[in-house]
Assembly symmetry: C2
Homo-oligomer: 245 residues x 2
DNA sequence: TTTTCTTAGTGTCGTTATGACACTAACATA
DNA sequence: TATGTTAGTGTCATAACGACACTAAGAAAA
């Protein structure tokens, strides 16, 4: 009982500003497929430090409005893209003395996958410039702010490795899609082709999709449209998908 | 040029204490095999908050001494166990308004694997009580401080899932070990038995081990001793290991 | 109406890593 | 020398995949 009281006293006296704490933020790699390429959203910084540098969208936690880290990530995503129910996954945290000139800092990196159809860029009034950039170009030809190139590579690496054994790319497509569209999405993310029959067996046997009853007609045989099943967690396959041998 | 100067001016004026920032710490689940069980290291907190509660070892980043988050984790591990070259992997970060009574806080969780032979508990002068506890017991019967039960489950989950498709459990063994010992380690982490021949084929075909030339003699046929190859990254298998069908 | 083109979707066989399980090998101890 | 115990192997069945040729169904041209 005495101890309970003394914890209360401890908390009353506690002031975070008495201690050295790092800056802590959230950054995110928002991926989509545009023009048959995997692209990532970049923003041009409108503030110091790294003013005018391209960077991953992100920012500080709003201690008043955000209950959790994921809230911060969702808020940033909504501000930039207008998308509010994305696939969102925490990837890795980066913390060091040198990554930000303001001092010791930690950033929690998130990965988001969205369908390009759902995007309305820069819905908020922020004046930052926003752009979709093909991932390879962003990694190799952009000199991103802070350690954002490393963060982007980490998120991209997580994505490409999970494609090997999960059904994660379904999150890059709109609600209804054909198996061929899904296959193309896998191929774009993987960076190589996959065999049609193997792919379809794999996906259909996994029992993660259901037919919508609709078909997509074009100038050829209509293709059945599918959607992710309601309970659809990202499915894990027992084996990795292989490229051509 | 004017901008470069103004960034300098910006940094001169910048004071982290002008902003609300969360507390940021590192916590870790240190696993080892003892008594044929997967066990995790717990410490009894000697300070508020959650005084006298069992918790995962961890603490705040030392902004002066730690260059990176991994430094903080390594330092904590060394303080508690005397082990300084462990397998160390960042798992997940937990941040929310409510997880710590002191206010908004973020903790970066790490997973460490060490061989029980290498441990010298509580090498430092800290007066905290330290104990190895079987993982299931720690998860189910201990009321850990803060959200440490959730953190432990996350680290444990990462471990058990990676066992399915990597050679990660080699890090729970001493430098030299027999294939049977390695198999037992896999079985303990997996929680079920694996078939001897399949296991040996898998491990040997992966080409991650080399014979030391030594054998372990007992009251029967001697067993060849192996060690992890020098370049040994944790190997990824193309298929998951299956339990009995 | 028929042909042709294009994309959707299937049948089937070989390959590969694994599970199952019986088998042999090598030592200590009695 | 026999016996028990653990190390390690031979071999076949199986599951999931790659390869690739095949059929199906529509639009548009002829």
């Amino acid at each position: 009982m005495a101890r309970k009281l003394s914890e209360k006293a401890f908390l009353t006296d506690y002031n975070i500003h008495d201690f050295d704490v790092p800056l802590t933020s959230v950054d995110m790699a928002i991926f989509t497929i545009r023009d048959s390429q995997l692209q990532v959203l970049l923003v041009k910084r409108a503030q110091h430090p790294a003013l005018d540098c391209w960077a991953l969208p992100g920012g500080f936690i709003d201690l008043k409005r955000d209950r959790t880290l994921a809230d911060t990530a969702r808020r940033k995503l909504l501000e930039k893209t207008g998308v509010d129910t994305p696939y969102l996954e925490q990837v890795e945290s980066f913390g060091s003395r040198d990554r930000d000139p303001r001092g010791w800092s930690v950033t929690v990196a998130y990965l988001a996958l969205i369908a390009s159809e759902e995007i309305r860029l820069s819905r908020d009034g922020s004046s930052e410039e926003v752009a979709w950039v093909p991932v390879e170009k962003a990694e190799q030809q952009f000199d991103l702010a802070f350690d954002h190139t490393e963060i982007l590579k980490s998120c991209h690496g997580r994505l490409t490795s999970k494609v090997q054994y999960t059904s994660l790319p379904v999150n890059l497509l709109p609600r209804e899609f054909t198996l061929t569209e899904l296959q193309q999405t896998f191929e774009i993310v993987l960076g190589n082709s996959v065999e049609k029959k193997s792919f379809r067996r794999r996906i259909l046997d996994a029992d993660i999709l259901e037919e919508t009853g609709n078909v997509k007609t074009g100038s050829n045989r209509p293709a059945k449209l599918y959607r992710v099943k309601a309970d659809g967690q990202s499915h894990f396959f027992a084996r990795n998908i292989e490229g051509p041998r």
